[in-house]
């Protein structure tokens, strides 16, 4: 027990040390930093999706829409006032928001609140649906949100299809990763609280949960609103990371990216989602050499060209889903004991493999 706490502390210190190192050599490692930041932000959104899909049993595909709301709230509130004229160069800026500005942390909270408020409204009709129907309805709403944001009628607020730029970034790495960690921590606390238990009961059996005195609609609505709050905050963080956004950033493919992370990490596992976020985001980058032409001994391999990376990535995904059909973590959480067992198990597995081979030959 005590040993595990020391391990956790050491891991935490190592992470902070790594951050301090990266912070000090910011320009040198800007590529690695951007991958890590994007991973951390995706992890926040993936955990919030997991809260809904994995722990409450509501399959929603509205993530991109709520991220868009969060991102635009943060962008509108934090773009420096003096830069706004150049950002809204097409139709000018609406006087209502021209001088509206607040610090980024407040903007992030507001991003979550606005996303949660809209989720509460959408939830009233949508949460009466079940499983696939809920997914389709939320997907539809997500597209509606995107379409509304890019509508020319809203040019003076969202700058329509021209997007918003000059969004201030994170002051330093500690803020970026600290905020992501804080969001995930709060969600973990919620999942392990008595409300998290109620959500799990809902996932297991709605009728039994109701017979235990849980108001179905109220708890579904609660899970949906909380999940959307953190998705909104995640969207806001993404806006701060990307520094310029437009409505195309938040198309359906973004939702699928998040879904991919959740499925790959394991539906119902927070650590799985975090792990998945880092693996998927980094994996795309590691495979980048497939995109550049490869010549072996004067022979140019024909497949290696731009776009091949995604083919390889998809094949890898299929392999993972086929052999780890419940995701990397299943519905388990990371623990040092589990890691210890895994490491200890490796030699035994090799021995077993050899023994089996021996049997075949004899």
């Amino acid at each position: 027990m005590k040993k595990n706490k020391i391990y956790t502390l050491l891991a935490l210190l190592a992470a902070i040390g790594l951050l301090a190192f990266l912070q000090a050599n910011r320009s040198e490692y800007s590529y690695q930093i951007s991958i890590l930041e994007r991973s951390a932000i995706y992890a926040v959104v993936a955990v919030s999706m997991n809260l809904l899909t994995g722990f409450t049993g509501l399959f929603s595909l509205g993530q991109a829409g709520f991220m868009a709301i969060g991102a635009y709230v943060v962008a509108i509130l934090t773009i420096p006032v003096e830069n706004r004229a150049s950002v809204y160069y097409v139709d000018g800026i609406s006087p209502a928001i021209a001088n509206l500005s607040c610090p980024f942390w407040l903007a992030l909270i507001l991003a979550g609140v606005v996303a949660a408020g809209i989720a509460a409204l959408i939830g009233i009709p949508v949460l009466r649906l079940k499983s696939d129907y809920l997914a389709i309805a939320t997907l539809g709403f997500s597209e509606i949100i995107r379409a509304v944001i890019s509508a020319p009628q809203l040019n003076q607020i969202t700058n329509g299809s021209y997007g918003l730029k000059n969004i201030p970034g994170f002051p330093n790495l500690f803020v970026a990763f600290g905020l992501c960690a804080l969001c995930i921590l709060v969600m973990v606390l919620l999942i392990n609280s008595s409300y998290g238990r109620a959500f799990k009961a809902l996932r297991e059996d709605e009728i039994a949960a109701q017979a235990m005195g849980l108001n179905l609609f109220r708890y579904k609505q609660l899970a949906f609103v909380i999940s959307s709050f953190f998705t909104g905050v995640g969207g806001g963080l993404l806006a701060m990371f990307m520094r310029s956004i437009d409505s195309k950033t938040f198309s359906i493919t973004l939702t699928y990216d998040i879904l991919l992370i959740v499925v790959l990490g394991g539906i119902g596992s927070v650590t799985g989602s975090v792990l998945g976020a880092f693996l998927v985001t980094a994996g795309r980058e590691w495979l980048r050499f497939f995109d550049s032409p490869l010549t072996i001994g004067g022979f140019q391999v024909p497949l290696f060209r731009s776009g091949f990376r995604m083919v390889v990535f998809s094949i890898l995904l299929m392999v993972v889903v086929l052999f780890y059909s419940r995701g990397i973590m299943g519905s388990n959480e990371f623990s040092w004991d589990g890691l210890g067992r895994l490491i200890k198990g490796i030699p035994a597995r090799f021995r077993k493999g050899n023994a089996q081979k021996g049997d075949h030959t004899s």
């Binding site: 606390l189 609280s193 008595s194 799990k200 235990m212 005195g213």
Partner: protein, 281 residues
């Protein structure tokens, strides 16, 4: 003797099928009352009408003097209605199952409905959730730790009483059948009910387990001051345990009385065994 549950002329019609037809019955304080009848007689439907899973087409349900459900055919149902009771105008009162549980009616299900992937302990703990004073904010930031601790202590005490304490960390779906039934009853008890509805508690049990269940039902009735209303097929159990029995056939009440009275009632014998040669003489 106070009246705990009163069903008045409950009629439940699905489309053109009348599943429960003008059922009136009452269950008194501290009684064990059984509802029996051949398969498809409408017993579980009657239960679902009491617990708010279905809204009865016509009729009224009173619990401890308060009307918890009441309905009269409306709209399309007015034309479709084919129940025996001529519908009067009743006020529409409907409650969702969770509200009815809060009022003090707990139930178990015919095909066990546990929270399969959760532990035995969590299954019971969830039943304590609704009565705890807390909100999502206080729960997330552990400001409710006293409430949570109390819930846990109560759960542990209940599990010990029900002799399930040694299994508290087992996953509910991994328990053997008999224990799953016991756990479901324990979970229902955790909601602090005044009336317990048991839907075929002895289904799939062998004679020894059934005998144990008989003692168990008596024991929980006495130690929790419960009134028990049950559906059951095992006649040994029913005859041994019930104070009174209601017999349902094709949605209609065909007999009521003490076990002896019901056992010798011709219509009951007919419904269960068909018309015997002796009766035709």
């Amino acid at each position: 003797m106070t009246n705990v549950l009163q069903m008045k002329e409950i009629t439940m019609q699905f489309g053109g099928v009348v599943a429960v037809n003008g059922l009136s019955l009452e269950v008194n304080q501290d009684e064990i009352v059984a509802l029996i009848g051949p398969n498809g007689a409408g017993k579980t439907t009657a239960f679902n009408c009491v617990t708010g899973i279905y809204e009865p087409t016509f009729g009224q349900v009173d619990f401890l003097g308060e009307t918890i459900l009441s309905n009269t055919p409306k709209g399309k149902m007015q034309k479709l209605y084919t129940g025996d009771i001529v519908p009067r105008s009743l006020p529409t009162i409907s409650n969702t199952p969770d509200v009815i549980t809060k009022k003090g009616i707990a139930r178990t299900f015919q095909n066990i409905r546990l929270f399969g992937q959760l532990t035995v302990f969590d299954n019971v703990l969830i039943a304590k959730h609704m009565r705890a004073r807390q909100n999502v904010f206080s729960a997330t930031f552990r400001l409710n730790y006293k409430v949570e601790q109390q819930m846990r202590e109560e759960t542990m005490a209940l599990l010990e009483e029900q002799k399930l304490a040694h299994l508290k960390n087992e996953i509910a779906s991994s328990l053997p059948y008999g224990l799953q039934r016991r756990l479901e009853i324990a979970r229902a008890l955790a909601t602090e009910p005044k009336l317990l509805l048991l839907d075929e508690p002895a289904a799939g049990m062998n004679p020894q387990e059934t005998q144990d269940l008989t003692d168990f039902i008596h024991q929980i009735r006495d130690s929790y001051h419960l009134t028990i209303f049950m559906i059951e097929h095992h006649m040994d159990l029913v005859m041994q345990i019930s104070d009174r029995i209601y017999v349902l056939d094709f949605g209609k009440l065909i007999a009521l009385g003490t076990p002896d009275e019901v056992q010798n009632n011709e219509r009951v014998i007919e419904a269960y065994l068909g018309v015997s040669d002796d009766a035709e003489d």
